[in-house]
C-alpha cells in the first residue's frame, strides 16, 4: 500500500520529507493560536506515517490557505497544498473530523457557487445555520446586517452559470 507520505507528496506536488523542522511555517502562521497541531508537526506526522493523527488534526480545517508558510519555507514544501491534500484524504476515507462546522461551511459554500455562481448572504447563512444547528447564534449581528440592507432575499444567478458548472464538474 502507498504510504501517506507518497500520497500527500503526489497530491500536493511537493516533497514533505525535505522538512528539517525549523518551524518557520508555524512562526509565520496567522492561525497558529487556534491550531491544535502546528504545521511542522503535521509534516512530521506524515513523514513518520502517523496517518490517523495527521488526518484527525483540527489544524488542517482551520488553515485559511494564506500561503505565508509556503512562501517562507526554506525547503519549498507547499504546506498549504499539503493541508488541502489531507482534507481530501480525510473525506475520502471518512476519517475523524473535529471541525464539522468548517466542513459544512465548505460544502454549502461550494454548493451555492455551483447553483448561483455567487454567494447570496441570506441563503448562505440560513443554510449554514440550519445544517450546523446554530440557529440562534449571532442573531443580534444578523438583525444589524438586515437593517443595513446586507441581506437580500432575492437570489440572482450570474450570467453563463452553465459554463461555471462545467468548470466545477
Amino acid at each position: 500500500m502507498e504510504s501517506i507520505l507518497d500520497i500527500v507528496n503526489k497530491k500536493a506536488d511537493t516533497r514533505v520529507e525535505r522538512c528539517y523542522q525549523c518551524g518557520k511555517c508555524a512562526s509565520s502562521c496567522p492561525m497558529i493560536k487556534f491550531f491544535d497541531v502546528p504545521p511542522y508537526k503535521i509534516i512530521r506526522l506524515i513523514t513518520i506515517g502517523a496517518k490517523d493523527s495527521a488526518l484527525s488534526a483540527s489544524a488542517i480545517w482551520l488553515c485559511t490557505s494564506c500561503y505565508a508558510c509556503m512562501t517562507r519555507c526554506p525547503n519549498d514544501i507547499n504546506i498549504t497544498k499539503v493541508m488541502d491534500a489531507l482534507k481530501e484524504i480525510n473525506l475520502q476515507e471518512k476519517a475523524a473530523c473535529h471541525e464539522k462546522d468548517i466542513l459544512i461551511f465548505h460544502k454549502i459554500f461550494l454548493g451555492e457557487i455551483a447553483r448561483l455562481g455567487r454567494i447570496n448572504e441570506f441563503r448562505f447563512v440560513g443554510k449554514f445555520k440550519i445544517k450546523a444547528l446554530k440557529l440562534f447564534q449571532d442573531l443580534a449581528l444578523g438583525l444589524k446586517m438586515f437593517k443595513k440592507g446586507k441581506f437580500v432575499f432575492k437570489a440572482e444567478k450570474i450570467n453563463g452559470i452553465s459554463g461555471l458548472r462545467k468548470l466545477i464538474r
Binding site: 528539517y20 525549523c22 518551524g23 518557520k24 508555524a26 512562526s27 497558529i32 502546528p38 526554506p74 525547503n75
Partner: protein
C-alpha cells in the same frame, strides 16, 4: 618485430569466474608477435611481479601487456616492474579486463571471454608501435605567490618563507589581516583576535623572504607548473608608500568623512585612511572616489601638511611582473548581504545587523571602543536576539550548505554580550547546534549554563519595527510555543558565501569552482588543497566555509605541498603529449582554440603550431580537430588507434 609478453591476471576470482582464462591464454598465445603468455592468480602480488620480471629477462621480451584491472589501479606497479627488468616504462601497457569486462558482463560469460580476447589483441597491436619515451623535465622557479593576506594567506606565506623559500604575498586591501582583523574575540578560548594576529602581521612585514604587495590585484597568470608569470596591478595609492613615514598627519587633517568599510558602516573614515590602527603596512592610501582633490581639484590639504612630500596626486596604477613556481589561493569569503533578506527588513532596520558588524561593535578598536550599543540610538541593548542559519541551510532562498561556524560565533557573541551587559538577556534561535571541534561543545554548554544564554529551537519568520523595538516572531518547536520578543538588537548569523570576485579569479587561474562558487579541490578527501590545475593550491574559505583553526591548518597543508614541489630542482611530467608534424601544419589555430589546458600556441615566426609539453595532458582534443592530421598523440597515434579498432571488428 617486437617480442611481446602477455600476462593474464585472474584477480582472484574477479576476472577468472567470468572470463575463461584458459581460452584467453590459448588464443592469445597464438597471436602474431606474442613470444610469451601466462596467467596467474594475482600478478600485482610480489611473486606475481617477479613472474613478470623473470619472463622479461629470460625470454628477452621487448614489450609487455598486463591484462588485469584498471590502469588507475596498477599501471604504475607494472611499469616499475618492467623498468626493474630493463624495459622502458612505456613498453608496458595495461588492458582492463576487470572493470570494463568481467565486472560488467557477469551474466554473459562467453561474450565476456571474447571481449577480453579482443581487448588484449588490440593492446598487442598498439604496443607493437609504442615508442620508448622519457619523462619531460623542466626547471622550477623556487618562489611562491600567495593570493590573499588574511589569516590563511599569511600563515601559508610564513610557513613557506620559514623553510627558506621566497614568497610574494598579494593583498587587495591596503593592509593585511583580512576578516580576522575585524573580529573582537575568537572562540573557543576568547583570546583577542588582534592580539594573536599582530605578531603575524609584523612578522610578515619584517620577513626577509616575504615580498609583501598590498593594495594590488592579480591581473593575469601565464605559464605552467614551476614557471608561472604573474602580472599584478598595483592600484594607485596617491601616496608614495616608500617616502611615507606613517605619521598620520594627513589623516588627521583630511576634511572628508565617509562610512568605513572596515567597520561595516558603523564607524567613519577619512578619504585618506588606513584600515585599522595596527595595520601593516601602516601607511595610508587615498580613496579616489571620495577625495575632493582627485574629484574636483579642491582641498589638497594632505599634500600641504605632508612633511616628507609623499602625497602624489598624479600617481597611476602600475603593472608589475613576478616569476613564481606555484600559487596558493587564499582569498576568503563574503557574507550574505542583510539587504537581500526581505523578511528580516532588507537592511532597513538599523538594529538588525550581521555577525561581522557585531564583531566591530564589540571590538576594543572598533567605532564604539568595544561598547555594545544599539546602532539606532546608542542605548545599551537589554534584549538581544541572535538568529542562526540566516539564509544558510536554506535551499529555497539562500544556500543549502551549513557554513559550520555560525553556531560557534553566535555562542561566542551571546557570551561576550552577557559579560558586558550582565543584566541583559541573550536569545539564540537555532535549528541544530553543530559544534564538533576541540572544546567547541563545552564552549556552547558554558554559554547555556554560566551565561544563561536562552537557546530557542526554531526559525524566526519575520522582524519588524514597532515603538523603537524590533519585534521578533519565532517559535520554539520543542514545545510548539509561539515566541514573540521585543528586542533591542538582532544579530543575524548570515551565510558565508564565496567572494563576489571568486569566479573572475578562477578564470585567471584556470581553476574550477563548485556549484556555489567556492574553488573546487582536485579530490574532496585525498587532495583537499590541490586545485585541478597543477601548481595552484587552495587554502581557507575560498575552498569552502571554515573556522580559523581549520583555515590555519589548511594553510600549512598547502605550504607543505609547495615545499614538496620545490624539493627537487626539476619537475618531470608524463611524456604522453601531442606532437606536430610541421610539414603538414598550416598554423590554422584550431588546436589552440580547442585545447582545454592552454598547451597549444602558434609560433608566429615559423608559422606552425607548437605544443607546450609541460601543460599538455595528452587528452587528444587537438588530434581530433586538426584538419590536416598534423597533430598526433605520442604512443596513441592514429595508426595505433586504427590497429586497435581492427582487432575489435
Amino acid at each position: 618485430m617486437k617480442k611481446i609478453g602477455v600476462f593474464i591476471c585472474w584477480c582472484g576470482s574477479n576476472i577468472a569466474d567470468v572470463v575463461s582464462v584458459d581460452k584467453v591464454l590459448a588464443v592469445i598465445s597464438k597471436h602474431p608477435g606474442v613470444a610469451h603468455c601466462e596467467y596467474y592468480k594475482y600478478f600485482c602480488s610480489e611473486p606475481g611481479q617477479r613472474l613478470v620480471e623473470d619472463a622479461i629477462k629470460n625470454k628477452s621480451l621487448d614489450a609487455i601487456v598486463i591484462a588485469a584491472c584498471s590502469p588507475s589501479m596498477h599501471e604504475a606497479t607494472f611499469r616499475k616492474a618492467a623498468e626493474r627488468a630493463g624495459l622502458n616504462r612505456y613498453q608496458c601497457e595495461i588492458t582492463n579486463i576487470r572493470e570494463q569486462c568481467s565486472w560488467v558482463h557477469r551474466m554473459k560469460k562467453g561474450e565476456a571471454t571474447q571481449k577480453a580476447i579482443d581487448l588484449i589483441s588490440g593492446t598487442i597491436e598498439k604496443l607493437k608501435l609504442n615508442e620508448s619515451l622519457q619523462p619531460i623535465t623542466t626547471p622550477v622557479t623556487k618562489r611562491a605567490l600567495v593570493i590573499g593576506g588574511g589569516i590563511t594567506g599569511m600563515q601559508a606565506a610564513l610557513d613557506i618563507a620559514n623553510a627558506g623559500v621566497e614568497v610574494v604575498l598579494l593583498e587587495r586591501a591596503p593592509s593585511v589581516g583580512g576578516h580576522m582583523s575585524q573580529l573582537a574575540e575568537t572562540f573557543p578560548t576568547l583570546d583577542c583576535s588582534q592580539c594573536i594576529l599582530t605578531p603575524r602581521t609584523v612578522e610578515i612585514a619584517q620577513h626577509p623572504k616575504i615580498k609583501l604587495i598590498t593594495y594590488a590585484e592579480l591581473e593575469e597568470l601565464s605559464g605552467y607548473l614551476g614557471n608561472y608569470t604573474a602580472k599584478i596591478r598595483k592600484k594607485a595609492a596617491y601616496i608614495d608608500r616608500v617616502k611615507c613615514t606613517g605619521c598620520g598627519l594627513c589623516i588627521e587633517k583630511c576634511p572628508k568623512k565617509i562610512p568605513s568599510e572596515f567597520d561595516l558602516g558603523s564607524g567613519q573614515r577619512k578619504a585618506v585612511y588606513i584600515l585599522y590602527p595596527q595595520a601593516v603596512p601602516n601607511k595610508p592610501v587615498i580613496d579616489p572616489e571620495n577625495c575632493m582633490y582627485l574629484l574636483e581639484k579642491k582641498c589638497g590639504i594632505c599634500q600641504k601638511v605632508c612633511e616628507v612630500k609623499a602625497v602624489d596626486y598624479e600617481q597611476k596604477d602600475e603593472i608589475i611582473e613576478e616569476k613564481v613556481g606555484c600559487v596558493v589561493v587564499a582569498t576568503g569569503y563574503d557574507l550574505y548581504p542583510v539587504k537581500d533578506i526581505a523578511e528580516y527588513g532588507n537592511g532597513r532596520i538599523k538594529d538588525v545587523i550581521d555577525g561581522l558588524q557585531f564583531e566591530r561593535l564589540n571590538s576594543a578598536s572598533g567605532p564604539t571602543s568595544g561598547a555594545i550599543v544599539r546602532p539606532s540610538n546608542g542605548d545599551v541593548p537589554k534584549d538581544v536576539v541572535f538568529i542562526q542559519c540566516t539564509r544558510s541551510r536554506d535551499p529555497e532562498k539562500g544556500v543549502s550548505y551549513c557554513p559550520g561556524i555560525c553556531c560557534m560565533y553566535t555562542g561566542k557573541h551571546a557570551m561576550l554580550y552577557k559579560r558586558k551587559v550582565p543584566d541583559g538577556q541573550a536569545y539564540v534561535f537555532y535549528m541544530d547546534i553543530r559544534a564538533p571541534g576541540k572544546d567547541y561543545e563545552e564552549f556552547i554548554q558554558r554559554g547555556i549554563e554560566e551565561e544563561r544564554t536562552l537557546y530557542i529551537r526554531g526559525r524566526v519568520a519575520r522582524l519588524y519595527e514597532e515603538n523603537g523595538k524590533v519585534i521578533v516572531c519565532g517559535i520554539d518547536t520543542l514545545t510548539g510555543k509561539i515566541i514573540e520578543i521585543k528586542a533591542d538588537l538582532v544579530v543575524l548569523a548570515t551565510a558565508m558565501l564565496p567572494r563576489a570576485t571568486a569566479k573572475d579569479l578562477a578564470k585567471k587561474l584556470n581553476i574550477s569552482t563548485d556549484e556555489y562558487g567556492f574553488y573546487r579541490e582536485a579530490h574532496v578527501k585525498l587532495k583537499p588543497v590541490q586545485s585541478n590545475t597543477m601548481g595552484i593550491f587552495l587554502a581557507g574559505c575560498c575552498q569552502g566555509p571554515k573556522d580559523i583553526p581549520y583555515s590555519v591548518s589548511q594553510a600549512g597543508s598547502a605550504a607543505s605541498k609547495v615545499l614538496a614541489l620545490f624539493g627537487s630542482d626539476k619537475l618531470s611530467s608524463e611524456p604522453i603529449v601531442a606532437t606536430v608534424d610541421e610539414s603538414l601544419c598550416a598554423a590554422c589555430g584550431v588546436c589552440v582554440a580547442n585545447c582545454p589546458y592552454n598547451a597549444r600556441e602558434i609560433d608566429e615566426k615559423r608559422k606552425v603550431a607548437v605544443v607546450k609539453e609541460m601543460l599538455c595532458q595528452g587528452c587528444g582534443a587537438c588530434v581530433a580537430v586538426c584538419p590536416n592530421k598534423a597533430c598526433q598523440l605520442k604512443n596513441m597515434t592514429t595508426e595505433q588507434v586504427m590497429s586497435i579498432m581492427k582487432e575489435l571488428e
